[in-house]
Symmetry: C2
Subunit: 327 residues, 2 copies
């Protein structure tokens, strides 16, 4: 298996992208393909000792920047690390592409350069969401700000396959994010989605209110991309503000500093449970090849984990399963 | 001033509704009007010593239940505490109505029995939102699952007046909840709302991403009611799951229990800062009389605080100001 990393994508590229790929070598049996500026990649690689037979470079000369207009960048920057990645994953030269670069460009490229699986109307950015009670899958988290009801059904189908194969959950419970628990709540689109999910063969458990999301009421939560993006980022924001506040409480006096020492390990555990770097990437499910979006601020650990998830994505033939299921 | 409480509304009515009204007597100069089952209210009142000249009862025989269909309940249950409250606040016999009962019925009654301020297309359920950096105002949090762009402009106008008069913030900064910080992000409706807000006389600061909501980037945040409801409830859910996790860390060993003692007061402070009962109620801004929704699970403190906010709502002539500004 050959997993490619857009070495130029993300706030800390190419330092963390290359480091993450090297770290992944020890954990999975795949070749890492680094796409980007050859000199910069080689400079980073020189820092490490690693199995050179499993690392390749595809040299490119351009970079899609965060400020670039997605569709224009995808069309014009033909020798960018991201666009070359799309071509290679489309033709099968590489098995998966991971990028922490411009999200809009990655989504546009997934649609325009790689293409949708037949029968899928809208691919979904799908994430593994951390809670204190374990992980669940959420789709869409930002590929489609506006959705039709059938899109949410597709997200449920794809999310269920992902939850089963990547998280190992049998017959995953699917919930619909809504503003009330009873049937009939929400917008007309949400109501229609409720009916489609109810009539489907999915293990649909009904509406899930936002306050119950951290309690992990379902294995898969579906919503439009606007809502999903808000849920994901708000959870991150509230968690961050809580951790900051707790830290300042512990730093406020000598006694509280001693108290902090007493529970230091456990507080670290708390942080780990909510840490996005543990989950690394969000696959764009519904396109014809594995494309995974990593967080813009990803560190090497996040890249390493994104690579590990991508390996499961490929080895479990998730695209084939989606294709079969959607018929 | 005469502030009415739907004594039968909420999970802990009439115990907490009556108790909250009695507690409010000591803090504001207003008469409390308790609407509901006379016997039940009198039984509760008998528990307290209070200024009897400032407490009145309006006896009613029916109750709008949480399971009732909102519009049907509002039409048929004419002698319910909630519907009688609408009539009294509409005619001006009472100056404000607070209810923790059926949210849909309260919203429907506000529209159908009290009516909109001229020029307002959609009233907004508006809440004071707690963060560790202070409070801000958010609208809509659930009255309108679907919105047009002009509604979000109206929410900004009403929210700004509320922030100024109730929170005491001069020239409040208004932000639009969106899935990116740059102009042009989000749905077509959100983009149109962005333009309307930008061209208005409001102190518009642009988009606010969900991850920045807990950092209190704006004094007023506007969004459709679906998004607002998700933001409000998810924040509550994440905060609750964090507090639960922290509690279990502290209870896990003798040493950690000692650590807990060291920072007990400060942890309590943390909880207080995020405590919805401090803020009590969410006014339905845009209707012709002050109607305030209290959380279904409100305790007496939440009711007392809702009453205090309602007093400010009335004494600052907020409805008159909205009416003037919307022209």
């Amino acid at each position: 298996m050959r997993i490619a990393i857009d070495a130029m994508g993300g706030d800390h590229a190419p330092v963390e992208t290359v480091k993450g790929a090297i770290e992944a070598l020890n954990e999975i049996d795949a070749t890492m393909v680094l796409i980007g500026n050859e000199g910069a990649i080689k400079d980073e690689l020189a820092k490490y000792t690693y199995d050179q037979s499993r690392v390749e470079i595809i040299a490119t000369t351009e970079v899609v920047e965060n400020e670039d207009k997605p569709v224009i960048a995808i069309k014009r920057k033909k020798d960018s690390s991201m666009v070359v990645g799309f071509e290679k994953v489309r033709t099968g030269e590489i098995d998966a592409l991971i990028s922490a670069g411009n999200t809009g460009a990655l989504l546009a490229g997934g649609l325009l350069r790689v293409g949708r699986i037949k029968g899928i109307d809208r691919p979904a950015l799908t994430t593994v969401f951390p809670t204190f009670s374990g992980m669940f899958v959420m789709a869409d988290v930002g590929a489609n700000a506006e959705c039709k009801a059938r899109n949410l059904l597709e997200f449920g189908i794809m999310g269920s396959i992902y939850a089963k194969d990547v998280l190992g959950i049998d017959n995953p419970k699917v919930g619909l994010i809504n503003i009330g628990s009873e049937e009939g709540k929400g917008t007309p689109m949400i109501n229609e989605a409720y009916q489609l999910l109810k009539e489907s063969s999915l293990n649909f458990i009904g509406n899930v209110e936002a306050r119950d999301i951290p309690e992990r009421k379902a294995d898969v939560l579906v919503c439009d991309g606007f809502t999903g993006n808000v849920v994901l980022k708000l959870t991150e924001g509230v968690a961050k503000s809580f951790m900051g506040e707790i830290k300042s409480i512990f730093m406020s006096s000598l006694l509280s500093k001693l108290a902090a020492v007493a529970i230091k390990g456990k507080l670290r555990g708390l942080k780990t449970k909510m840490d996005y770097t543990e989950f690394g990437g969000a696959p764009l499910l519904g396109v014809k090849a594995p494309i995974v979006k990593a967080h813009g601020s990803s560190n090497s650990k996040a890249f390493k984990n994104a690579i590990k998830y991508a390996e499961k994505y490929v080895s479990n033939n998730i695209i084939e399963k989606i294709s079969k299921e959607i018929k």
